[in-house]
Homo-oligomer: 350 residues x 4
């Protein structure tokens, strides 16, 4: 399949390139970047030195139409919404890494993003690109909206418990920790090394946009709507997310029963690992262990003192949280093994 | 005042030395360390090179009795309990940094620490060394039990809201992040740089011992007992704690009203800063900003979506979380300005 | 080919496992670890969770003889020397990651390592496992002694200039920077996160053992012996080495001429990249860019002010500096493409 | 003394503020920042919260003349040169942290900085602000040009050996490692946390401007001019410099003799510590140990194998490398103990 990437100079674009260049069923024909047009992709992504002689191109829709069957949108939020409709019209399939088609309800864009969606008709058509939750719909979708990085970690951590209808719906606390790459490749004072290094910085403590998609997706699994209390923190790592999810049980459950709930939902999933070991420093999920991989590691601990369940969910924000998830969707579309091009085991230590 | 430190080779012992060596009202006469006896203190604490020619001594009670008016215990949990009674008998005052005298109820030692307390009679006498909560009792106490590092951050963050009786008592989620120095100076696989660097590691996710003292101290402020849901995470920094506290309101409150609740409790406190800015990367508390200081920075954000209040509380675990708090208690005892010897502003950036 | 790993629980052993488990021509039949015998390999190497059900075995030579054609020794220095002769006698081929067979002159073991070599007869037979320098000999070697991590970075950086006979032979300054994984997986005070984090620590500033093999290998390329001035520094990263090599020219050379010297030696090498860009933060080699790969990135800058050439050479110490180099040697033996199993591009950023 | 700071919003300006606010002989009356005029200084420097209610002012020379006796220039290179002459004319004393008055030879500004100096007459008058080398001249200077951060570490490390005339003058290799704060407070791609974290990045490998002042100052101590081979590296820390200096001896010297050379020069210096211990992780200078202090830690190791001496010199780039050195100069001017306001011992660990 001939594939293009629009927005190829950001971190997600670079990771898509890395994955797709060695994907056996894919030929990357086109990488678009307005600001880097003309340059070799490896000038921006130093890990690709020696791996490809591709250059960034300026945006040219007819070129894309001629050279691509499918396009990955790795553009900033708010810019996919204008391009995607044209790509779809030209008969291309689209996997959009931005938030522009994740939400079903147009009103949610006003509420959470502060702008009016200009193509609400496409929101119904778009499939939320969580393979674990929408595998069948992804197969034939022409527009896939890939999940937000902290959203997917949280959704996969919570889904089995929400489906089992055993937790309090309005006391779900999600405390996320995320690396600096999550904020993208544009320098700012917040991401300036002397300011970012060594801190634990709460940000968008309330009202974070990922709440909208987390609630949307989990509500599909539940009898009645739930409320997510979500607060992220910027920590001193580059890649990785740990989503610590604190929920309260509505009925008594043993560790074994909870284990069964998770196992039954995820045992066939190629990229969900249940992590709950008795020894060593990595007994529970830690983003350090999934760095560079497409895994979502999920574990939990039962707290009888507070009738609480602590769920831990770790992903690499650029992999399972973005590019890796996108390639997994592509594999579903291609009808190949979902692990194709995503076999990397991760390094240890690093 | 002539002061001794027992357990002077650990991180808290080293910090006590740093603070007390330049304290105008104190003379450090004795520093005990069994394993380093005979060595200069600066061989273990390289920041003290050139600052002192003190050497570690082996434990010798009569030497201590002769040379000290007050002793800081910076020994591991479970070892203070045997020494402190002897020191008190000899007429010394004791500021204990360990957990051995923090809890009032002897049964709590069995429950949370797994051992029977051998001197339950002293638990009533001991004063929990949070200056903000027990200033008057500290003044004349002969035994002060300094708070745990994550405990004090959490207690100071929650106290005003608990006292105001406006939050749900059994849905209090405390998600803590802590630097590697919190685990002490003994190497282990968990603290091995290649394993610890770059991770976000949940540990003692349920059943952490600080829960006992947090509940004890907050219950003193409330009409009925509360339950703390507490989970710490080891993050990629050396010093510092951020305690993110998620609570649900039992009555509608505005930001202004909450601000007033905090202000009224803390406006006279020399080491509590309310942090809630509109600009810059440090709008809310971040341990990076309190490193090396005795401050507890507290901020909050109101979440109307979930009827939630997010409280952020940041301390340096070795300062306000241990040695700094201990010196603040000493200042209360001495009747001098509580800031004496604790004036350091912290560095930025670092 | 059936392959075994002796010393499978260290960082090099774990990396060999990662690489060999997905190597198409290799079956890992045996992983030896005395201290972890009986445990799944993924309990020690968390990145291997889900990738294999192999368990560590205790050392048993007849088991190895039956199940392996080739053995990787990933044991500590001084322990290979006793085992390797037995493995060779049993007809196995050996790729030794330790220093025990790197030096040709038995006297050098006394001088640099402080012990008498018990099998000096094997030193002649052993081939120093730098593919770039000894490809032909590796092909048929029964014993390959893989280079030290800082040694290989330095040797590859210097080799072309030494061969060209254009530098002062006794004023070669090598200033190396290395991550914490280079010291292995055993915790110590030096590697304790609070002590190791945030420092730039010179260690073994003189007399480092890698000097012996660097001089040995470079002397093979030169008319007369040279002297290496070598000093390493422990920096705040986990993986990676930068070797900064300062040499003084004995005849005037232009940048173009130096470029040609490097190009002519390395243009066919699959894992040496010449790095000298005009833009971006990664103009010269940086270990960050080779992390997780088998590349040695080499660059240089000419300093007319001091008649100096600065050569920069970066490797991942566990990959090109150990396991990756070992697998490259294996590929030479197998007669397959040297890149087999080593195709990983590295991640960016991480 | 009434003091002003021009350029108060950068890292050096912030550190000057921190030091001067608690300096017993100084009143900070004026802090200038064009871009932050009107804001509280603590909005930019979060460590100053609660310590001062000062606000940044726009530049106004007559205001400065009225309110200051002495001005610190913490402005970027190339901007002091225009302001300083006016300040001097108004009768103010100036301590300039920029490079604009460090070099004696106007031609050096063309050569190293690329611009023609517009006030060459002031270069003779300006005193290079290294207290250790120019204490007497500083006393009465009206213009002090404070050393560059890597320059001072290197100069102090080399001075005794240069003065002793025992090293090869044109084979002096200085390999420096520096934290991210050294590049200032303006964000860029190079300093973007995802790009800067975890790397060891050589930059300005040849032709670095600090060479000019290092050679100038050391030449004052020597019979004939020397040449410095200098290359810095950006490492994964925020504060701190380690300058590793490799020199070759022209006559045989013992460790004891070298120790004596250093001791005789520095034994009376309040901020130079000779560091050469037999135990522990900090046997030689490490910037981790001087963070937050005004110390320059110097150590060395003799390498008989290469007839080399390795000198290690560590400073905090914002303290002894800038603001701390500036305050030390101020203390000389004031005639007070040079340690006034600079007593901080540094923290450990951090």
């Amino acid at each position: 399949m001939k594939v293009g990437i629009i927005g190829g100079s950001g971190y997600v674009g670079g990771e898509l390139l890395r994955l797709l260049l060695s994907h056996p069923q894919v030929e990357v024909t086109t990488v678009i970047s307005r600001k880097n047009a003309g340059e070799y992709v490896f000038t921006v992504h130093p890990n690709l030195r020696g791996a490809t002689q591709l250059r960034f191109l300026p945006l040219n829709l007819s070129h894309i139409a001629k050279n691509c069957d499918l396009v990955f949108m790795a553009t900033p939020h708010g810019s996919s919404v204008n391009l995607v409709p044209k790509l779809l019209e030209m008969g291309l399939r689209v996997i959009d890494m931005s938030a522009d088609f994740r939400l079903k309800n147009p009103a949610d864009y006003v509420k959470w993003y502060g702008w009016e969606h200009t193509h609400p008709e496409l929101l119904k058509e778009a499939v939320y690109g969580s393979t674990e939750l929408h595998r069948q719909e992804i197969k034939n979708a022409s527009l896939i909206a890939c999940p937000g990085c902290m959203a997917i970690a949280t959704i996969l951590g919570l889904a089995p418990m929400v489906k089992a209808e055993v937790i309090e719906k309005h006391r779900i606390v999600v405390d996320a920790k995320i690396g600096s790459s999550g904020a993208g490749s544009n320098p700012s004072l917040s991401s300036h090394h002397p300011e970012r290094f060594g801190g634990v910085r709460p940000y968008k403590t309330v009202g974070h946009r990922h709440i909208a998609e987390i609630e949307q997706e989990l509500n599909l699994l539940a009898n009645e709507p739930l409320t997510i209390s979500f607060s992220p923190h910027a920590v001193n790592i580059v890649r990785g997310i740990l989503s610590t999810i604190h929920v309260f049980l509505t009925k008594p459950l043993t560790t074994k029963e909870i284990w069964k709930i998770y196992r039954s939902q995820y045992q066939e999933e190629p990229f969900v690992r249940l992590v709950r070991y008795k020894k060593g420093p990595y007994r529970l999920p830690d983003p350090k262990v999934v760095m560079g991989t497409n895994f979502c590691d999920i574990g939990f601990e039962l707290d009888p003192h507070a009738n609480r369940l602590v769920i831990l969910s770790a992903v690499d924000n650029i992999m399972k949280g973005a590019a890796g998830q996108g390639v997994q969707c592509l594999n579903v579309i291609l009808g190949v093994d979902e692990k194709t091009g995503l076999e990397s085991m991760g390094f240890h230590p690093m």
